[in-house]
Amino acid sequence: MQNQKNGLSRRNFLKVMAMASAPLVLAACAAPAGAPASGTQGGAASQAPVELRFVAMDYDSRMQPDTQAVMDAFNKSQTASTVKLEVVGWPDGRNLLLTQISGGQAPDIFNGSGQWCLEFTSAKETAPLDDLMGKEFLDNFWESGIKAMTVDGKLYGMPYFLDPRGLYYRTDLFTEKGLKAPETWADVREAAKAISNPPDIYGFGVGPDDYWWYAWIGAIGAGNDLAPWTQDGHSRIASEEGIAAVQFLTDIVLTDKTSQPSPQNANRDSDLQPLFLGKKMAMLETGSWMPTIISHDAPDMQYDLAQLPVAKADMKHPNVFWPDAVMMANQSKQKEQAADLLKFMFNAENRLQFALQRGVIPERIDVGKDPKYVDPNDPLTKYKEFYVKELATAHNVFQTPWPATGSEDQTSVTNALAHIWLGEMSVADALTAAAKEIDTRHKLT
């Protein structure tokens, strides 16, 4: 039945295959295969520069060009190494790093949250930096930043993005109601009740996660133990201070009804900040990046910044931060060159630029005092000075010993808040249950 002689001719077959292969060939042309894995040498010659990889999580749309400029400057400044920058998004950055580390392809340098630093360090995937960076160099940094990245006496990350927090409030609304800057929880509740007029304007932004922390440290006050664990590792969230903190938030949500809707699901960046920027919120606790965003997205907003409120007037105002770090992978085969890159990235000039570009608080003491940073003609300078001052005593959320279950523990608190704000449980019952859950997770019951 078949006649091979009159089958598809070789020429036609080759034509079909050539057409089919064209996009693959194009793709191959566009992408010379095989990026060298971290740790490979840039060339065969021993004196050829080694290739370093820096995987950077982005903070804003300028992260790529700004960081690339620093990398280009580093490449020009020496001949021992060249660095290749890869900027990736925060939401998927951690999983990407985990995949690369698991596959033996960890970048030499990468940044991430302090929480990642502790997780990767516990898995022995980060390299200690004390000796590589040297004491003299590290003395340039705020102690709170260095301590935040220190585990068991060794430094595992360079503080990269320090973000103490403050209470932003609308001065036009406060003036209109004859209110003063809020200092205590009572002030906050009073102002929120006076101003709140939903859905046109909400008094006070409330959410889980960060917002629990603000209330928690506000219940205890600066100068006291702000860790949510006792010395023996038990959770303190259901303590007297823990209950007072959540009761404050719950009063705003359920009693005063002056928060925005659905606080149990509220996300700081995608829900609360846009409400404040849209002038639909009178007070919001958030980070040091906010003045830069306001100056861009709501330049006519009349606002000011106050310290995080405390439970009682005689308490000192505490602060809290979630530091980010630049880490060196333990898999890196060229730690000396990677350390040189870190020193270049963290010199005063580059950190000044980073602070100005991102609107964050410099981790170097000298940069915080630099006239270019605290320019008297810059309207944002007063906020910068505020945060530099706050940073000196801010509490690190990831303070060691951060348990391996830290993220899950925070989820227990978040779930408890949801139960409370949905009216399903009382504050004491929900927190007691959450504390028990955390202690069980730590095998402490």
Binding site: M1, Q2, N3, Q4, K5, N6, G7, L8, N12, V16, A20, S21, A22, P23, L24, L26, A27, A28, A30, A31, P32, A33, G34, A35, A37, R53, M57, D58, Y59, D60, S61, M63, Q64, K84, E86, V87, V88, G89, W90, P91, D92, T99, Q100, S102, G103, G104, Q105, D269, S270, Q273, P274, L277, G278, K279, G287, W289, I293, H296, A298, P299
Partner: protein, 284 residues
């Protein structure tokens, strides 16, 4: 007896039409609502995005976002890379799926029914389940950071669906047509290429479109396997507007609209073939 229509009187046909449109119009509005918001936001300034109450019509429409996005990110490169991934994976997948589907449609062999079920079942595996193993494999082959890797992996992941779809379509074509072609001196492959494939054009187009869209929309594989900025596709590129503390909604919506436009235009061009292909497979 036929009812006489009088002006102003609702006939059964009119009632039916009102019912159909009454149902379809709300569904249509709900379907295009995100699209309207996307287009509207893409013409707003970053400040207007946050001004309450949100409006469909921008207060001061601007095309600045459409100009800025090319400067903020290398959008042209992202488009080109997406196009290469989409086209490459479509062609690679079809080259493999066509003979496989033809064999399944025409031949009887041991384990065929199990294999067909296997094809169906394998589609339930999301790539993310295999990503770590794949990463190690690709790294060991020194094929990280290559568009070819993404093309090959995309083709592999869409192969089972494409084979399944084409098998269904080939089965709608009477085998007598090929037998006649072979009587005229064609080989089996020749009959397939000269007779079956031209007759299967709508089915091939439908499968090609699905395959292209898979490649165009793929996110996990490029995120994991690509490293250089100049190799990233649109899906990853659009993510550049989602940063740690802020989403640049105005620019994200402008870039998303352009990315969507490509797929919409493609759909419009091949709408007839797509519908015919889908209907033929479903009828079978």
């Amino acid at each position: 007896m036929i009812a006489k229509e009088t002006p102003g009187m609702l006939t059964p046909r009119m009632i039916k039409l009102v019912g159909i449109f009454g149902l379809l119009i709300p569904v249509l509005l709900i379907s295009i609502f995100p699209l309207i918001v996307m287009i509207s936001t893409s013409f707003k300034t970053s400040q207007e995005v946050y001004i309450p109450p949100p409006t469909f019509m921008p207060r001061a429409p601007t095309i600045q976002n459409y100009l800025d996005i090319w400067r903020v990110v290398p959008l042209g490169t992202y488009f080109w890379n997406s196009l290469l991934i989409g086209l490459g994976s479509t062609v690679a997948s079809l080259v493999l799926a066509i003979p496989a589907a033809y064999a399944l449609a025409r031949y009887r062999f041991v384990g065929k029914s199990v294999y067909v079920l296997f094809l169906l079942g394998i589609q339930m595996f999301p790539p993310i389940v295999l990503i770590l193993g794949l990463f190690r494999l690709i790294a060991s082959l020194n094929m990280l950071d290559s568009l070819v890797t993404i093309v090959v992996l995309n083709a592999i992941f869409s192969l089972s669906f494409n084979t399944w779809m084409l098998m269904g379509y080939f089965m709608t074509i009477p085998p007598e047509i090929e037998e006649a072609a072979m009587m005229d001196g064609n080989s089996r492959v020749g009959a397939m290429v000269r007779m079956v494939m031209p007759l299967s054009w709508p089915g091939l187009v439908a499968v090609a479109i699905f395959s292209f869209m898979n490649g165009w929309n793929e996110f996990t594989l490029p995120l994991t396997f690509l490293q250089s900025q100049d190799k990233l596709p649109l899906t990853i590129g659009l993510f550049k507007f989602v940063t740690r503390f802020k989403v640049e909604w105005h620019q994200l919506m402008a870039a998303s609209f352009l990315a969507t436009l490509v797929v919409v235009v493609l759909f419009m061009l091949v709408q007839d073939q797509l519908t015919r292909g889908m209907v033929a497979v479903s009828e079978k």
